[in-house]
């Protein structure tokens, strides 16, 4: 974790949100600061191994097809580490993975369109590029998981209104908050521990994106307060329907 002494105080004396609300110069300065904050976009570490592990447990005839999501081994001390974690995903997991894949496709396409729109430059553009690249990695990961379980969902064709910087930023915040809620809604329904672990690893990235975009659009980074609210598949699909061609 990088230490940036000094910059903390700079940011604190003038509120992030207040700065955004100010004139264009301040805004640009803030965005420049924000740009420095973006990580180098580390590659997905260990995902290949995760996928390989999933592949080995793929089964067309769901061996973990019962509603007992957690096998008895989960709580026993010996052998639980391996056996329960590699328990095959059920067809329910494939549906969840494909649902997540569809959302990630849309996010990925959205960011690509935003990048090419020319509405953003400099630091904010680099934030958007980083987020977009992370969504791309989510797509790649989920597609491989889906392939290990069955047939991946087809790539949808997104259609997004791209009008102005503020409208796009607001839409991005909406999309990311929805994405975080979507993962949260599915987590308790996932049967495979490995797929659950992957979903959790993605869930908090959507949350980080959402909080960032909320701050950039002058919204509360924790809009639900101390406890984030989940969204059901039906709620999310209804919300994204207008963005699918």
């Amino acid at each position: 974790m990088t230490d940036h002494p000094g910059s903390a105080d700079d940011g604190a004396t003038t509120g992030v949100v207040e700065m955004l609300a100010r004139d264009d110069v301040e805004r640009k300065r803030f965005l420049k600061m924000a740009g420095k904050r973006m990580g180098a976009g580390a590659a997905a570490t260990g995902l290949a191994a995760f996928i390989a592990a999933c592949g080995s447990s793929s089964s067309k005839s769901s061996t973990a097809s019962t509603s007992k999501a957690a096998p008895a081994g989960t709580t026993s001390s010996s052998s639980s580490t391996t056996s329960s974690a590699t328990a095959a995903a059920s067809s329910g997991d494939l549906a969840i993975v494909n649902y997540a894949l569809t959302l990630e496709y849309l996010e990925s396409q959205f960011y690509a369109k935003v990048v090419s729109s020319g509405l953003f430059k400099g630091a904010v553009l680099s934030v958007i590029k980083t987020f977009g690249a992370e969504e791309d990695q989510h797509v790649a990961a989920l597609k491989k998981v889906a392939m290990s379980l069955g047939t991946p969902a087809a790539m949808p064709t997104g259609k997004f209104p791209i009008k102005s910087a503020s409208q796009v930023a607001t839409l991005a915040a909406t999309v990311e908050n929805l994405g975080a809620a979507a993962y949260l809604g599915q987590a308790p329904l996932i049967k495979s521990k490995e797929i659950l672990a992957a979903a959790l690893a993605i869930h908090t990235i959507e949350a980080r994106h959402a909080a960032t975009l909320n701050l950039l659009t002058k919204k509360n980074p924790t809009p639900n307060g101390a406890f984030a609210e989940p969204a059901t598949m039906a709620q999310v699909l209804a919300a994204v329907k207008p963005f699918i061609a």
Binding site: R37, G39, T45, A70, E134, A187, I205
Partner: protein
């Protein structure tokens, strides 16, 4: 990526605290569990350190972390005299961590367990910059801790509750990154789960009893 070997460091010795209350006992227990299971992680995303723990143990482990965060924001935040946006965020985040403490305490009782008591903490920061730096670390540790423990829950309702909390920890971490120049997504596209050993390496030295 941290490995268990990386964490076999002297800092862990500080976990061997004196006045052995329930919290430190649990932390030590978790440390032992991590030693058994940490090395045989089945997959990079699965932190198996808590695989043999009960839901109540996981909740108590989380409760200890939430006590730490709450105390940090509310007590340390006041003593370093925060200002501006940092003050606003610390107040808001401290309130939210306190709600996590209350929720976890309630969940432990409801599950038939006994909530750990709040340990004594010591935070080695003296100014706002240091405070924000440690806040960023603690929030990221929180994200990794919950993500690492998540797959080990047997009760799905508790998993849902933990998910609801970890999303907020991630939002806190990103907000602090925005404020300080830290990385918004320090792990790239996939947040890394932490084992109990890794959590202890970061949080253990801050727990005094």
């Amino acid at each position: 990526m941290m490995t268990d070997t990386d964490l076999s460091n002297p800092e862990l010795a500080e976990v061997e605290v004196h006045g052995m209350n329930r919290a430190s006992f649990l932390l030590k227990g978790a440390l032992a569990t991590g030693a058994v299971y940490g090395a045989s992680a089945v997959a990079p995303f699965v932190s198996s350190a808590l695989a043999a723990s009960s839901d109540i143990d996981i909740l108590n482990f989380a409760l200890t972390l939430e006590y730490l965060e709450t105390n940090f924001y509310q007590v340390k935040g006041a003593s370093v005299h925060l200002s501006g946006e940092a003050k606003t965020l610390a107040k808001s985040f401290g309130d939210e961590e306190a709600e996590h403490v209350a929720a976890l305490t309630g969940a432990i009782k409801k599950s038939g367990g006994k909530p750990v008591k709040m340990p004594q903490f010591a935070f080695p920061v003296t100014n706002q910059a240091g405070f924000l730096k440690l806040a960023y670390t603690l929030e990221n540790v929180g994200v990794g801790a919950y993500n690492g423990a998540g797959p080990s829950f047997t009760n799905k309702a508790l998993l849902a509750a933990a998910g609801s909390i970890v999303q907020v920890e991630a939002r806190h971490a990103a907000s602090i990154a925005m404020l300080t120049g830290g990385k918004i997504t320090p792990n790239g596209a996939f947040d890394k789960p932490l084992t109990t050993k890794q959590v202890l390496a970061a949080a253990g030295p801050l727990i005094k009893s």
